[in-house]
């Protein structure tokens, strides 16, 4: 396995602020991991993500100390346009990301900017729209699409650039639960089939944690927990301002009754298997 992100002793302070917002971050992420990154508002998770694609320090300025390597590049020395090829970003609201008259143009935009050849653009746009299941909408206007469809197009426009890492900041915040689940399933697919490294920033862990291979919890600028979600949920995440899925809360109550579980369930399927063993 190769490391796609390596962070050593990273500190960061925004311009004009008198405190560091990242404090001694040490982190290694292997290619193909699905990382769920969470923590209370203001814990530094968005700031950390901005370091992954070079927005920090190249756009936000400020004082970045320590080492950070992403996709083989030293972020501090690599311009944003180069980092953007390796690290794709998806935000809460897809409206902030789509601006063209057709879906196709939106997905092609980044490639056109890079001066990629027409044939290659067409091939990559076709592929990206196929992967996210939006091929039949290629001539639609983004504003005609539903929220979930828009988010798929935003993901396609990132995929078309063929990045190594995709970072998503609460991508389902505006979507209904079923549509949200479908987006998480798409991310799971991209992760499993294409080996894409996924970094998903979320406040709500109930739907997303079953897809994650790793859960990282930040608090006050530090990484405070890092590991397999099924065992990490043994910790009281509420202390870090993170809500615990109800399934986990239910199993904690069972533990109070004297049962113990090495791995806590992340889906109702797992939960029902575990529960059947202990009820008559």
């Amino acid at each position: 396995m190769s490391k796609v992100i390596e962070v050593k002793g990273l500190y960061y302070r925004y311009d004009g602020m008198d405190e560091d917002v990242l404090l001694n971050i040490n982190l290694e992420i292997e290619r193909g991991e699905f990382v769920l990154l969470t923590g209370a508002s203001g814990c530094g998770k968005t700031t950390l993500c901005r370091c992954f694609n070079g927005l920090i320090p190249h756009f936000y300025g400020g004082d970045l100390r320590g080492e950070i390597q992403v996709a083989g590049f030293d972020v501090k020395k690599t311009p944003i346009h180069k980092m953007a090829l390796k690290v794709g970003f998806i935000f809460q609201n897809p409206d902030s990301q789509l601006f063209s008259l057709t879906v196709e143009r939106d997905v092609a935009f980044g490639l056109e900017n890079l001066g990629v050849e027409r044939e290659e653009i067409k091939r990559r746009v076709d592929w990206a729209l196929e992967v996210v299941g939006m091929k039949e909408y290629r001539h639609s206007a983004p504003y005609e699409l539903s929220g979930g469809q828009k988010q798929r197009v935003a993901i396609a426009s990132v995929l078309a650039m063929n990045p190594e890492i995709i970072v998503l900041d609460e991508p389902t915040a505006y979507l209904d639960p079923k549509t949200s689940l479908k987006i998480f399933q798409l991310l799971d697919d991209l992760n499993q089939k294409l080996g894409l490294t996924v970094i998903l920033v979320e406040h709500r862990l109930d739907l997303a944690s079953r897809y994650a291979s790793r859960l990282i919890v930040m608090s006050r600028g530090r990484i405070v927990l890092d590991g397999d979600p099924a065992t990490l949920f043994h910790h009281k995440l509420e202390e870090y301002g993170v809500s615990t899925p109800r399934l986990i809360r239910f199993f904690r109550q069972l533990e109070k009754e004297g049962y113990s579980f090495d791995r806590l369930p992340l889906s109702t399927e797992e939960a029902s298997t575990l529960l059947r063993r202990i009820i008559s």
């Binding site: 689940l181 509420e238 049962y259 109702t268 029902s272």
Partner: protein
Amino acid sequence: MIEVVDVYYSYPNGFTALKGVSLTIDRGECVAIMGENGAGKTTLIKHFNGLLKPTKGVVLVDGDNTRDLSVAQLSRKVGLVFQNPDHQFFSETVEDEVAFALKNFGFQEDEIKRRVDQVLERMGLKQYRQSSPFNLSGGEKKRLAIASVIVFNPDYLILDEPTIGQDYLQKCEIINIIRSFLREGKAVVIVTHDLEFVVDLKPRVVLMSQGKIILDDYADRALTNLKILDDASLLPPQITELAYRILNSPSLEGILDEHDLMEIVKPLLKRG
């Protein structure tokens, strides 16, 4: 009381977002309006403060037809917090944004100051009072939008997706605010996709799909009706789904959170 009587609404482009909606919301009630994207939820609540007037049908607020009142008159009673707070802000500082409605409603200077201080403290925004609303993070903007409405203490508080971008403790604070409004006998209406948030509140639930109300019932029944949740593009609460998987029971009524399920499971546990 807000009374919505057989309301239809068509947008200028011809899209009919509401197709015969009837609903009554009493003071003291907590109502969650849920359903898929595009179901008509936001269109419906924009009728409560007169931002939209029905194409057909009537909306009455405390007996007055919203057609006969201006949005400004209605807003004093019906405080609406938009889904996307950027649409709501126009002041240069957070402080001015929160004070705006109070000034408009003619409150005294010292009363304005007292209320603004109190609400900024409560929403965790005190340190930003001189900042521009547009420089806040998404979650902070959302709390500022809530602050600028609760500050004038409306009789009906309408929240469109209040929990987006909010962490666990901030959600707890939003729940506290909702409960304190309810205790004062005010009505709170929440449009939300956040099922677990609804499970915490256990309100009356109005499920919408394609411009119609498909169910109007208390959370105990509404959120455990798997068939109808599916029709509304909703997933059942995690605990309800687990109960469905393990219990051979035709009814899951009232099984919403970990405590509800524990009560049922406890007698079934094998001692070992």
